[in-house]
């Protein structure tokens, strides 16, 4: 059955020693990763589901789903819609709250020999802070990713990530609470992504991840109704890759801190494009749904690419666009 096995792992985890000389490790603002590949928040559950398919220690890091102070029930059904080369989601950050998250999800995940990045959400700056304060007590967390795309209830529901002052202040407050690597995740739904990036860098972020989903909509012409119960949702998948690449490229030119690139990455070639545009590491999101082996396949593909191109350290690729 050609290259893909009939059953199980079609990536055929290469222990190929001829490729062993490639150094895939990267440092993402203080987070040491054995390779530049993590998963995008919310697309990988708590990791357990995918551990049925491959060993999580093949990845550079695992990023958890978004966690908030109290449980969030999320939005009504339907929560997803397929669109051309992508999908819309309005899950609404459903999660059991930080206490349950720590006892049920984290305790397992932090035993998988892979750094864990905890994605943090909140409806106000004080909620972000309270989540981080609680997580500081858990020794095994490697880094935080602040999802600042959430609506800010103190500010009329506008997303923190669309206003450079709000982005600055929430980042700065969290910075004061933790010495761990702090990654701030930007929303693409802004006029000037560079301005927001510079604000969070100035506030003390160690790295920036981008992009979150692009606001979109799907309509059922027969029923004359929106497909999603919430009417609008976040677009992800290959459809948004050109937007994401452009934003990584622009932000790379405007900040010094390293970037975690994501948005439609399905293959090692996609990942390399993000690195050339300026990303130090990459995250695989929606592609996990299409193929549960996507993330380790990207790791293997990166190793092969470097071997082929005679690259000894993958960090050489970052920003190497000619």
């Amino acid at each position: 059955m050609s290259k893909r096995g009939l059953l199980g792992d079609p990536t055929g985890h290469s222990d190929d020693h001829s490729l062993g000389s490639v150094d895939l490790s990267v440092n993402l603002g203080g987070l040491q990763m054995r390779n530049p590949v993590t998963v995008a928040s919310g697309t990988f559950g708590n990791g357990k589901q995918y551990a049925e398919f491959f060993s999580l220690d093949r990845l550079g890091a695992i990023t958890t789903k978004g966690v908030s102070l109290e449980p969030w029930i999320g939005n009504d059904n339907p929560r997803i819609a397929e669109t051309a080369s992508g999908m819309l989601n309005s899950i609404g950050l459903q999660n059991p709250g930080v206490e349950t998250f720590i006892s049920e999800d984290l305790s397992w995940l932090t035993n998988q020999d892979v750094p864990v990045i905890v994605n943090v959400s909140g409806h106000s700056a004080s909620e972000y802070l309270a989540v981080i304060e609680r997580l500081e007590a858990v020794e095994t967390i490697a880094a935080y990713e602040l999802n600042i795309s959430c609506p800010n209830i103190d500010c009329g529901g506008m997303s923190f990530g669309t206003d450079h002052q709000a982005a600055f202040s929430v980042t700065q407050l969290c910075r004061q609470k933790t010495g761990r690597p702090l990654i701030v995740k930007l929303t693409p739904n802004v006029t000037d992504i560079g301005e927001i990036a510079k604000a969070v860098e100035a506030a003390g972020a160690n790295a920036i991840s981008l992009i979150n989903t692009v606001l979109g909509m799907a309509i059922d012409s027969r029923r004359r109704k929106p497909v999603l119960a919430r009417k609008v949702g976040g677009l992800s998948g290959p459809a948004i890759k050109p937007i994401a690449l452009r934003m990584v490229y622009e932000v790379h030119q405007q900040v010094q801190i390293p970037l975690l690139g994501m948005g439609g990455i399905c293959s090692a070639e996609d990942a390399i494009e993000f690195m050339l545009a300026g990303a130090t590491a990459v995250a695989i999101g929606t592609a996990n749904f299409t193929n549960p082996y996507s993330a380790p396949a990207v790791v293997d593909g990166l190793r092969e690419y470097c071997a082929e191109q005679g690259i000894s350290r993958i960090t050489e690729l970052t920003g190497a666009l000619q």
Binding site: M1, R4, L6, L7, G8, P10, G42, T43, F44, G45, Q49, Y50, E52, F53, K65, I73, G74, N77, P78, R79, I80, A81, E82, A84, S85, G86, M87, N89, I91, Q94, G237, P238, T286, A287, N288, F289, T290, N291, P292, Y293
Partner: protein
């Protein structure tokens, strides 16, 4: 009970009886190969795939998550109940209705096509072991996950099936059921009266429940129908399971796109279901 003038295309019967149980293997990716694929009625087709792992491990009520070959721009997999599985030959069958782009495409796949599957997925039917009298209720393609369930009961159990469709030409695949269910226990309904009783399935269910008690009811089909059946079951204090459809992205419990509101909170249709205890579902 069935209108003799309606001609049904043959469904192959004699598939192995599936075992209930929880000792089966979990979901894996398996590249299935199309053995046979074709329409049985207007808009209703059946595909037979070679997929040994899934065939050996599927329990009644579970499903596969299928990636559309040659339609890579359609990034989401499509969920389909396993209609029948033959562990010995390593084959599974799916019964599907062409309702959109993906299912239309599925109906065009020639024999030999490789199809990327994840399966078997989900919590299947959990009938009480000692059930003496059971009632299966399938609306439209909802009969798909009921066929393998029907096969699990021994001759000790009296199995009734209420099968409903809009019209006779959409009423397919009752024939294989006759392997497991004898004629007086087959209750066919059509919305237009072109076969069987001229009524909705729920009317037939109501009548049956009034005549005699059942130990177990299993239903799959349009959600309003399942809801009505669940209400009737509750009225008659009968244990009832429903099989719910939700839009699914990952299909393995990771993305939370498929949630069902239950008395124990939001549950995922893909892995906590698709079969739920009807009394626990908040409709």
């Amino acid at each position: 009970m069935v209108n003799a003038e309606v001609t049904y295309r043959a469904c192959d019967s004699e598939y192995n009886r599936l075992e209930l149980g929880s000792d089966a293997g979990g979901p894996k990716q398996e590249i299935g190969i199309v053995i046979d694929n074709g329409f049985m009625a207007q808009t209703i087709a059946k595909i037979r795939l070679s997929a040994p792992y899934i065939a050996q491990n599927t329990r009644p009520g579970q499903f596969v998550h299928l990636r559309l070959p040659g339609l890579e721009a359609h990034i989401l997999r499509r969920p389909f109940s396993v209609y029948a599985a033959d562990a010995r030959n390593g084959e599974i069958q799916l019964l599907y209705q062409t309702v959109g782009l993906g299912t239309e495409h599925l109906s065009t796949l020639p024999n030999g096509t490789h199809v990327d599957l994840i399966g078997p997925i989900g919590r299947g039917w959990q009938p009480p072991r000692d059930a003496k009298r059971v009632l299966l209720v399938g609306g439209g393609l909802g009969v798909a996950p009921l066929y393998s369930l029907a096969s699990t009961f021994t001759t000790e159990t009296e199995v009734h099936l209420v099968m409903g469709a809009q019209s006779a030409d959409r009423l397919i695949c009752w024939k294989p059921f006759s392997t497991y269910i004898t004629e007086p226990c087959l209750h066919i309904t059509t919305d237009d009266g072109s076969a069987g009783q001229h009524c909705f399935t729920t009317k037939a269910v109501k009548d049956l429940l009034e005549i005699g008690a059942f130990d177990y009811i299993a239903t799959c089909g349009p959600e309003p129908m399942q809801k009505s059946v669940a209400a009737l079951a509750a009225e008659h204090q009968t244990f009832c399971e429903v099989s719910l459809e939700r839009r699914m992205a990952c299909g393995i419990g990771a993305c939370l796109s498929c949630v069902v509101n239950t008395t124990s909170g939001l549950q995922r249709a893909c892995v906590d279901g698709p079969v739920f205890n009807a009394q626990e579902v908040i409709w």
